[in-house]
């Protein structure tokens, strides 16, 4: 009798623990998904891997801190930060990517890495090096579900991510601009012939991607804090998510982000927390070894 009770109790302890890790995982995962989606959008339009994607994330968070500091109300500060980051996205395309058209993959990678250093440097000079917290959107009182707790902010992260993903689907499937981006990604020359302004498509893609990154950065800043270096790891994990899902496959990136986030939280909880950051990369190596084009990527045949 006693034994059974004890067992039940420890079982519910275990499931509460599992749930706790899962909450951590999906919150992280949603963030990675948004960052990964940003990678995908830019890659689709331009075949560039934007190593400054993480800095968009950072700029969203730091921008919000700055505008809040100016005394703006939260929603205005958030919109201002997203707008500012989007401007940087546009600028990156116009002043760094467009002039370097036709450069090799490595050169483009280094240009975006240079851009990430510039953005970090700029934020550091203008907004300082300190860590900052954004107040949570709906308070810090945790919600208890089956013995595990989740912050209201995590629900915001999840909710907004779902909304953004749905909105993007609508954008790409139903609007002219979205379709133009898809067309450009499939065949740039054909799109050009069809009268699509490819340069404009690229421009918009970078802006869109920057806005998404900023949104991700703002959503998680109340949970993880932010400073000028906060985007580095997030950017790399988002890249993992995008590759895991198959480069250029937006929904794949979302799935990839979730997988990475949950794997990370479970790994930290049940295996070794010290190796938490390695989990995403071990996962990506295993997947690439067995499926070289990601989980949901198309396997292409070389034409000769």
């Amino acid at each position: 009798m006693m034994g059974k009770l004890y067992l039940q109790e420890s079982l519910s302890d275990m499931s509460a623990e599992f749930l706790q890790f899962l909450f951590s995982g999906v919150t992280l995962g949603a963030t990675y998904a948004l960052v990964g989606l940003g990678f995908s959008i830019i890659y689709n339009a331009s075949h560039v891997i934007n190593f400054a994607q993480g800095e968009f994330v950072m700029m969203g968070g730091m921008g919000t801190v700055f505008f809040l500091g100016l005394g703006l109300p939260m929603p205005v500060a958030i919109l201002a930060a997203i707008a500012l980051t989007t401007l940087f996205g546009f600028g990156l395309e116009r002043f760094a990517i467009a002039p370097a058209r036709g450069a090799s993959v490595v050169t483009l990678i280094i240009i975006t890495i240079g851009a990430s250093i510039v953005m970090r440097g700029l934020v550091q000079v203008v907004w300082g090096k300190e860590f900052h917290a954004i107040p949570a959107f709906s308070g810090d009182e945790p919600i208890t579900i089956a013995g595990a707790t989740i912050l209201p902010q995590s629900l915001w992260v999840l909710g907004v991510t779902v909304l953004l993903v749905l909105a993007l689907r609508f954008f790409f499937e139903k609007t002219i601009m979205g379709k133009a981006i898809i067309a450009t990604s499939l065949n740039r020359d054909a799109a050009l012939l069809m009268g699509i302004n490819v340069r404009f498509v690229l421009f918009i893609s970078f802006g869109l991607s920057a806005a998404l990154g900023a949104a991700a950065g703002i959503l998680v800043a109340p949970i993880t804090l932010t400073n000028f270096e906060a985007g580095i790891m997030l950017g790399l994990k988002g890249f993992c998510a995008a590759i895991l899902g198959g480069l250029g496959n937006g929904m794949g990136a979302v799935a990839g982000g979730m997988i990475v986030g949950i794997a990370e939280a479970m790994g930290a909880g049940y295996l070794i927390s010290e190796y938490k950051d390695a989990i995403a990369f071990v996962l990506i190596l295993l997947v690439l070894f067995f499926k070289p084009s990601g989980l949901f990527g198309k396997t292409g045949t070389e034409r000769v």
Partner: protein
């Protein structure tokens, strides 16, 4: 004349001359230190350039191999009491074998997937070094005794300078051999290389191992020189730094790798007077160079000279 052949001896002699006279212009120990750092970085870049510049396979994880050499040597010397040179060979062997094992699955990948895989591999190795603090001292790094017979800094200058000259010479030899042409063919068109008998996988694996061993040896020597090693050596940023040196100097140019290493080792030291603006300016220089000289410094300048000759 084979167009790559001519600058070979000339360039090598000039490099030797620079190394020989440079100490006369170096005012103090710190400047000698920077010169030695340049040599170290240049050697890694020469190896990395064989992989990236010639064979066309990107690696965003080469810092990890420098780290393996450094920590391999450090651990064997400090914890196991091995002879430093033996440790260096052991670390290089380990790195080489590791490269050999992971090369096949990794180099099957292309473009951004290859970039991701090498990046991931590098980060995993760097996390292991950071975490296994019993062995590695964790994020704070570890102290190692140096080579007993290298009693002064200038000894190191000559030793590493000599290793650099050897590396340049060997790299030029390799490039101007059937193996070198096969590597460039892999870059040009894998399928075309295969139908004339080049086992592209074998050559990709070979050059991955070679460049890994270059990196590992530099890591080992570096740890004996500075007596200290921290995990940043294996980190993402060091890997990126190395690639930037190669591309900045000019891909598929051995002397480009040396020039790239020199400039990008000196630049951050020169920019320290900017304090907070250091990173901003560094990033801008990087971006502008890559946007306006996408082929890198040395090939672009070489093209300029060529054009000048014609007119």
């Amino acid at each position: 004349m084979d167009k790559l052949k001519s600058p070979r001896t000339g360039g090598l002699l000039i490099l030797m001359a620079i190394i020989a006279v440079l100490p006369a212009f170096l005012d103090n120990a710190f400047q000698v230190e920077i010169a030695i750092l340049i040599f170290f970085n240049a050697i890694v870049c020469i190896g990395l350039n064989l992989l990236i510049g010639y064979a066309g396979q990107i690696s965003l994880g080469h810092g990890a191999f420098v780290g393996l050499g450094a920590y391999g040597s450090a651990i064997l010397t400090a914890h196991q009491g091995w002879d430093p040179l033996l440790s260096m060979v052991a670390a290089a062997t380990f790195t080489g074998v590791l490269c050999f094992v992971i090369a096949r699955p990794i180099l099957k990948l292309k473009g951004h997937y290859l970039a991701m895989a090498t990046l991931g591999m590098g980060i995993i190795i760097s996390i292991v070094i950071n975490t296994e603090d019993q062995l590695t001292g964790g994020p704070d790094g570890m102290y190692v005794d140096g080579l007993s017979f290298m009693t002064s800094q200038i000894h190191w200058y000559w030793l590493i300078g000599a290793v650099l000259v050897f590396s340049v010479w060997a790299s030029l030899n390799l490039i101007h051999s059937p193996i070198g042409r096969a590597l460039r063919a892999v870059h040009g068109s894998e399928v075309a290389a295969e139908v004339v008998g080049v086992d592209t996988t074998q050559y990709k694996v070979l050059i991955f191992v070679v460049s890994g061993v270059f990196a590992s040896v530099v890591g080992s020597l570096g740890v004996y020189y500075s007596n200290f090693v921290t995990p940043d050596i294996a980190g993402f940023f060091h890997s990126i730094e190395l690639v930037v040196m190669v591309v900045f100097g000019g891909m598929a140019s051995t002397f480009g790798a040396v020039v790239g290493a020199a400039i990008l080792t000196i630049l951050p030291q020169v920019l320290t007077f900017l304090h907070d603006f250091e990173h901003l300016v560094f990033g801008l220089i990087l971006m502008l160079t890559m946007i306006f000289l996408p082929k890198g410094l040395v090939p672009t300048l070489a093209d300029l000279f060529k054009k000048g000759d014609k007119s």
